[in-house]
């Protein structure tokens, strides 16, 4: 039985690795997800088989009830969530996993309440509680921020780093007490409570625009918490699957902060986006005027240009305008206009988020260009059509060293011969920074909901 269990867990581990590998290519990605879920079914089903004799009466009830309710909640929310709300959905699923890992750690510690646990199981149990608890609380805050239930702006108070640092020290001290002296329920409860507080205060000061990086990091954390509980429970499957996620999640987090041109440390501790207005009076856009045009003017401009590069952003997603955008692009193509899409790595709110949204509207995969691929083409392009994007085309990232986003790679929309910006209002973008591109003499703005503006443009191009 033990050998069978090891072999089945090994098979599950192989399926997870293959699944991740298949997920790395657009063609096989869906199969990758199926392969990984097959591994999961295998591992879970076999665990139930192994446990079948040892369930207590209460145990079997809570396993069945917990599973059934969890499955219903999981399927319903995953099916119902709008594509635009995907990042916070992933955050909350991740939080659930982290919370489960923390509870597994707590339960294991409680089982030997009173005495101090053996180090080689006690240490990973405490780690699972700490990392899983931070991941849970942090994910909940990330969810609340992205869902805009609390402000996306960084929430800071004086001495924040000091408080967080002290909190971390107290947690470490408690962990030592727990491992070396006793693991009474009081100590465990206080530890769990402090860990949850740290998760909250850790994510609160991070701005909404940086949430994807945070979610990715918390995802990796949950993986590590799961691996830690694997050590505690002596379970190969937990260790391998948790470590895989921990390692790949770390790589992904690095890639994401690189895409924003910032170090991870800066993302986590920089309270980015807190300063709303640039301090330099000279380059500040305040007082400058913008040029707004009618849909008819802009429709004509688009219809008679030779090449158009579309820069989609989160505003497009919020307005559910991707289908209208596709219609406009089709119309232009039929008139012989060359249409491409420039996708910034962090367009939307997660890397690749925009690709998912445009794929939903059947935009051909071949027209989606990544930043490095298309940035040199803007110079020879007649119109850059910016739809609901802001920070990713802000020249301040290139030109003004004082700006918060200085150094972030941007799309060179400002180098196109004309720039058309569809925008809801003059509010600054998610990062909270003004954009001088709006005040450029080659720029025309069309205010309004992205979907409505696009529909108007479609009508205007038809009659042009």
């Amino acid at each position: 039985m033990i050998i069978a269990t090891e072999l089945i867990y090994l098979l599950a581990a192989v399926l997870f690795i293959l699944g991740l590998q298949f997920l790395s290519s657009p063609r096989s990605a869906r199969h990758g997800n199926w392969i990984a879920s097959a591994g999961m079914v295998l591992a879970v089903a076999w665990t139930v088989v192994v446990l079948r004799g040892s369930f207590t009466a209460a145990g079997i009830i809570i396993c069945v009830v917990g599973f059934v309710i969890g499955a219903i909640v999981g399927v319903v929310s995953a099916r119902r969530v709008k594509m635009t709300a995907m990042p916070q959905m992933v955050a909350i699923f991740n939080g659930a996993g982290g919370g489960a890992a923390a509870l597994v750690g707590v339960s294991a510690l409680l089982n030997l309440s009173g005495q101090h646990p053996e180090f080689q199981t006690g240490f990973p149990e405490v780690l699972a509680v700490i990392i899983g608890g931070i991941s849970f609380a942090g994910s909940v805050i990330a969810f609340l921020k992205l869902q805009e239930l609390i402000t996306g702006a960084p929430i800071t108070f004086p001495g924040q780093h000091l408080v967080n640092g002290l909190l971390a020290l107290v947690i470490l001290a408690l962990a030592v007490v727990l491992l070396a002296l006793n693991s009474s329920i009081v100590v465990i409860t206080v530890l769990l409570a402090l860990v949850l507080v740290l998760g909250v205060t850790f994510v609160l000061p991070i701005g909404g625009a940086d949430m994807p990086v945070v979610i990715s990091m918390l995802n990796a954390c949950t993986g590590l918490a799961v691996a830690a509980s694997g050590f505690a429970l002596n379970n190969f499957a937990l260790i391998v699957a948790g470590t895989l996620v921990g390692a790949s999640g770390t790589v992904l987090t690095r890639k994401m902060s690189d895409a924003m041109g910032r170090s991870l440390i800066n993302v986590l501790f920089g309270a980015f986006g807190q300063v709303q207005v640039s301090a330099e009076g000279g380059t500040s856009a305040a007082g400058h005027t913008v040029r707004s045009g009618s849909a008819e003017d802009i429709g004509t401009l688009l219809a008679y240009s030779r090449s158009v590069i579309i820069v989609p952003g989160y505003g497009l997603a919020v307005a559910q305008g991707q289908h209208a955008l596709r219609e406009l692009a089709d119309l232009l193509e039929r008139r012989g206009v060359e249409v491409k899409y420039a996708i910034h790595p962090v367009a939307g709110r997660m890397p690749g988020h925009m690709n998912v949204l445009l794929a939903e509207a059947n935009v051909p995969y071949e027209q989606l260009k990544e930043m490095d691929e298309i940035n040199d083409e803007f110079k020879q392009t007649d119109v850059a059509l910016v739809v609901g994007a802001n920070d990713v085309v802000n020249p301040a990232a290139r030109n003004s060293p004082g700006s918060d986003i200085y150094g972030m790679p941007i799309l060179n929309a400002d180098q196109a011969r004309n720039v058309v910006i569809l925008k809801r209002s003059m509010r600054p973008g998610f990062a909270g920074i003004d954009n001088e591109l709006f005040y450029d003499h080659r720029t025309i703005l069309l205010f309004g909901d992205a979907k409505e503006s696009l529909t108007k443009l479609v009508a205007a191009v038809k009659v042009a």
Partner: protein, 103 residues
């Protein structure tokens, strides 16, 4: 450290290398589905939750076990379903007659 722990630690280290390696060539467009897919994989904590919940006797153990199984199931089931929904949209539509594939 017991021999058993050393063996487990070996798995841990080797798997970490696989984890670094296996996704290093992922194109940007798949980052979101990949994050979501790997998010579902750490739902394996359901196995741990079941191991803990199976032996529950005291009311505290019952509450903790129930919560752990519930949360782990949400993670794993929701994670895979939502990933599949994202990837559904990447289905190949080359036959649609798009001319030049970029290189």
């Amino acid at each position: 450290m017991s021999e058993q722990t050393v063996v487990l630690f070996t798995y841990f280290v080797l798997t970490a290398f696989i984890g670094f390696e296996v996704i290093s060539n992922v194109p940007t467009i798949l980052h979101t589905p990949l994050m979501s897919g790997s998010n579902a994989i750490h739902g394996i904590i359901l196995v741990g939750a079941l191991l803990i919940a199976a032996n529950a006797q005291t009311s505290l153990q019952i509450v903790l076990g129930l919560l752990a199984v519930f949360m782990a199931t949400v993670n794993v089931v929701g994670g895979f379903v939502v990933t599949d929904r994202m990837l559904e949209m990447f289905k190949a539509k080359q036959p649609g007659g798009e001319k030049g594939k970029e290189q």
